[in-house]
């Protein structure tokens, strides 16, 4: 798959990190880590959630100061006190969580900190826009410099992030999980861009949890486990399974094992649903859908085709313009979120920090976010904390939430563990319909395996599961049936066993030819 011509210059090390140690309090996030990246190389970092990848890169970029260790950039020892130093030495970083100022335009975000000016400190905006156009053409990263960030897609935002680095003349790019929020199409484009960049002599450090991407993009891969470097391997000569087991320290299965079973009664029924998005445009346009008990229905589709609005409409977070929604034959159209929940719908939300958790509540408090009014957690008035605590402890054990401390605030958990808390809560409610939106985004393979297992378990308990994901692999391996959404409508319905990426990709692109190259 990785078919490009490699042009690594092994005589020119761009980055050398030697014996880096970083502690947060007593916790050792980086434990004597070494890393070497050459000119023209794409070097992947692989590790479980919380292994210390982002920490290491933040050190390289000057956001954290290491407790000990040395950093050499282009053969010179550098003390990276702050990002200004690393930027000056040609290091650019695209962060795991986007560092974009939402109300600003693309151009404003790119030039921030290095603004071209006229007299009076005035920003030379037309020059800025021209500059942005130029570099975006040079590296094949198309963007509209005058669009506001809040109005463009995540894929576009990703490009802006890369352009920010390139605008500063970076020749070493750190990409921290750049693909976590991208659609398959966008990922493909990004990998092409990365190869294009290395051809122009840039080096890239790529962090990702997706082994397929590492195989497709990277030359070398350094594996980190619990803050320690395990090994650095040549990607070409290592299989995905080897990478995964080095990272987790055990065998990981990628196949989602599930038994055949017969779907039963219709649980969710949607008729001619029309929903508007925030800008009052119709995002869902007359959609029909059925999900049955004992079935995992996957919804495949490119981001922005109405998935978000569809889920919000079902769960009561968004008003419906027309159409009807039924759960077990009961009409829940335009009911409140609580009424929808009461009728047996649970939801693993797309944005776990915005909707899924009250970050300043403890894990225990978060575990009863929907159930706090019910027995045994309260008598309707008084919260029964002993019950809430024992329930939480039980779930944390069962779903392996780490660290095992119910009194911690949700904020202090890693992303993967935050997701586990939500899944534990939603699955334990034992809903007739479980909706899972992007449930594995940003999770490591071990955690992904766990999430998939949980979804299949629900199905096996004869519950209905609606899975929405931008990852075709996930949709194909977990679902029984797949519905393809395009421009607010279901444009195709296939059995997961009888389809392939090509067919789905074609439908996801509205039947056109765009997604059909694979």
């Amino acid at each position: 798959m990785n078919t490009r011509q490699r042009n690594i210059d092994f005589d020119t090390p761009m980055i050398e990190m030697k014996d880096i140690v970083k502690k947060f309090g007593d916790f050792v996030a980086n434990d004597h880590i070494n890393l070497k990246v050459h000119k023209g190389e794409i070097h992947a970092l692989l590790g479980e959630n919380g292994a210390g990848k982002s920490t290491l890169m933040n050190i390289l970029y000057g956001l954290y100061t290491p407790n000990s260790g040395e950093i050499w950039i282009k053969g010179k020892k550098v003390e990276v006190k702050n990002p200004n130093v690393s930027i000056a030495h040609g290091v650019g970083m695209v962060h795991q969580h986007f560092m974009l100022v939402k109300p600003f335009t693309v151009a404003e975000n790119i030039i921030l900190g290095m603004e071209p000016t006229l007299g009076f400190n005035r920003i030379n905006m037309s020059k800025a826009i021209d500059d942005v156009r130029q570099i975006s053409e040079k590296y094949g990263l198309q963007v509209d410099p005058e669009a506001k960030i809040q109005d463009i897609t995540v894929g576009m935002q990703q490009r802006v992030e890369i352009l920010k680095a390139l605008y500063r003349g970076a020749d070493i790019l750190i990409l921290d999980e750049p693909t976590a929020v991208l659609t398959p199409q966008e990922i493909k484009e990004l990998i092409a861009i990365m190869h294009n960049l290395t051809e122009q002599g840039k080096s890239i450090i790529l962090i990702t949890h997706k082994l397929k991407e590492i195989k497709a993009a990277a030359d070398y891969c350094t594996i980190i486990r619990r803050g320690k470097r395990i090994d650095t391997v040549e990607v070409r000569s290592t299989t995905e399974n080897e990478l995964a087991s080095m990272m987790v320290g055990r065998e990981v299965s990628f196949e989602v094992y599930k038994e055949e079973r017969q779907a039963e009664d219709v649980v969710l029924k949607i008729e001619n649903l029309v929903v508007e998005d925030n800008r009052k445009q119709e995002a869902v346009k007359g959609l029909n859908l059925e999900v049955r008990a004992g079935e995992i229905l996957g919804i495949a589709g490119v981001d922005g085709n109405g998935q978000t609005e569809l889920i919000e409409a079902i769960t009561g977070l968004r008003k419906i313009k027309s159409g009807r929604i039924f759960i077990n034959g009961k009409d829940i159209t335009n009911k409140t979120p609580r009424e929808v929940f009461e009728s047996g719908v649970c939801n693993i939300p797309e944005d776990r920090q915005k909707h899924g958790l009250v970050l300043d509540y403890t894990i225990a408090e978060n575990m009863v976010l929907e159930n706090y009014r019910k027995e045994p957690f309260s008598n309707g008035i008084r919260l029964n904390f002993p019950q809430i605590f024992s329930f939480t402890e039980e779930l944390m054990e069962k779903f392996d939430v780490r660290p095992r401390n119910k009194d911690l605030k949700a904020r202090s958990l890693s992303g993967g563990n935050q997701q586990k808390v939500i899944i534990a809560r939603e699955v334990t409610n034992d809903p007739d319909l479980l909706i899972a939106a992007q449930p594995t985004r940003g999770l490591d393979v071990g955690a992904i395996e766990f999430v998939h297992r949980s979804l299949v378990d629900q199905r096996d308990k004869n519950k209905a599961v609606l899975l929405v994901s931008f990852e075709l692999d996930e949709v194909m391996s977990v679902s029984d049936n797949i519905a393809v959404i395009y421009e607010g409508k279901i444009v195709g319905m296939v059995n997961a066993k009888d389809t392939n990426e090509n067919e789905l990709g074609l439908m996801m692109a509205g039947g056109g030819h765009n997604g059909s190259e694979q």
Partner: protein
């Protein structure tokens, strides 16, 4: 017509100190630091402006620069408390509301304390001589009793306020500095990763906010009246803060909100004046500005959104 001119003149006069205060709040909050200490900063500015001008006028006679220096001293005094607020809320990542409230106790306390030390135990300063007050630049062009005269017979501080609104808008939306201030207020970490010094930008903005608020206080004690009194500010700092929110954290918006407030006060005074001869309780008339403000808010203004990082202390290396 004359009545309208009167209302307009009152509007300009009354809204001026509010505009300074509101602009101060605009800068601070756009950089992500809530400043509820505007009230205190205005108080200390009012004192420092009036007291220093009086002392200089005593010492140097009535030279042209005396009021200007006094005005600046008023601003600097406010700026000093801006610095204090910045130390607390930027360096020590204090809860910004707490620090602002502290300033609302400290600044007026210090103003009274200094006043007693300087002026024989008096909590009010002696009046500034007329020719040591700020000038009234357009005064000589219009006959005082003519309609333009009524409207434009204003102190320089009034015109400066409006110039500052434009300058603030220009700085915030057209300059490098402004881009950085707003970036720091929206997403400090993003700015930090691009090498923008978040702390320095916030220090700058908060100190500037104090200076503007201080000028606002001085515009009251050196133009509208000619002395400092303990009750001089009495809540105007809070009104200015409300105006800043009303104006959606923008200089021009805040200005419009201040003008609305000034205009309704003008209408209130006009309705209570002998020529209207309305037989309505003064207490009911006094409610007018506040009620109209609420009604306008209900009718015209949608949800106001603060800068995303407003009120959140920035800590390097935080998640």
């Amino acid at each position: 017509m004359r009545d309208l001119a009167f209302i307009l003149a009152t509007t300009l006069m009354y809204s001026t100190p509010l505009i300074y205060g509101a602009l101060g709040a605009v800068f601070s909050e756009n950089s992500g630091v809530v400043n509820i200490g505007i009230e205190g900063m205005m108080t200390i500015g009012a004192f420092a402006g009036a007291a220093s001008t009086y002392i200089m006028a005593e010492g140097y006679g009535h030279l042209w620069w005396v009021p200007w220096v006094g005005f600046l001293i008023g601003g600097l005094a406010g700026g000093l408390f801006g610095l204090l607020h910045a130390v607390a809320s930027v360096t020590f990542q204090a809860d910004q509301t707490v620090s602002g409230i502290a300033i609302n106790f400290l600044a007026p306390g210090l103003a009274l304390f200094l006043s007693r030390r300087l002026f024989e135990n008096a909590t009010t300063t002696p009046p500034i001589p007329l020719d040591a007050k700020l000038p009234r630049p357009l005064n000589q062009f219009f006959d005082l009793s003519s309609i333009p005269g009524i409207i434009f017979n204003q102190y320089a501080s009034v015109y400066i306020a409006f110039i500052l609104v434009f300058v603030s808008w220009f700085v915030l939306y057209k300059t490098k500095l402004g881009l950085r201030i707003r970036a720091v207020g929206e997403h400090p970490k993003a700015a930090d990763t691009l090498g923008v010094n978040v702390y320095r930008v916030r220090y700058f903005s908060v100190i500037l906010s104090g200076i503007l608020a201080g000028l606002g206080g001085a515009s009251l004690s050196m133009a509208i009246v000619a002395s400092f009194r303990p009750t001089l500010i009495s809540g105007q700092g809070f009104i200015a803060m409300a105006a800043m929110i009303f104006g959606k954290w923008k200089p021009h918006g805040a200005m419009l909100a201040c003008l609305l407030f000034g205009a309704t006060t003008g209408i209130q005074i006009y309705l209570g004046s002998p020529q209207v001869g309305l037989q309505v309780s003064a207490n009911l008339l006094s409610m007018i500005p506040y009620i109209i403000t609420l009604i306008v808010l209900m009718g015209f203004v949608g949800k106001a959104v603060a800068p995303a990082a407003d009120g959140i202390p920035y800590e390097k290396g935080d998640r």
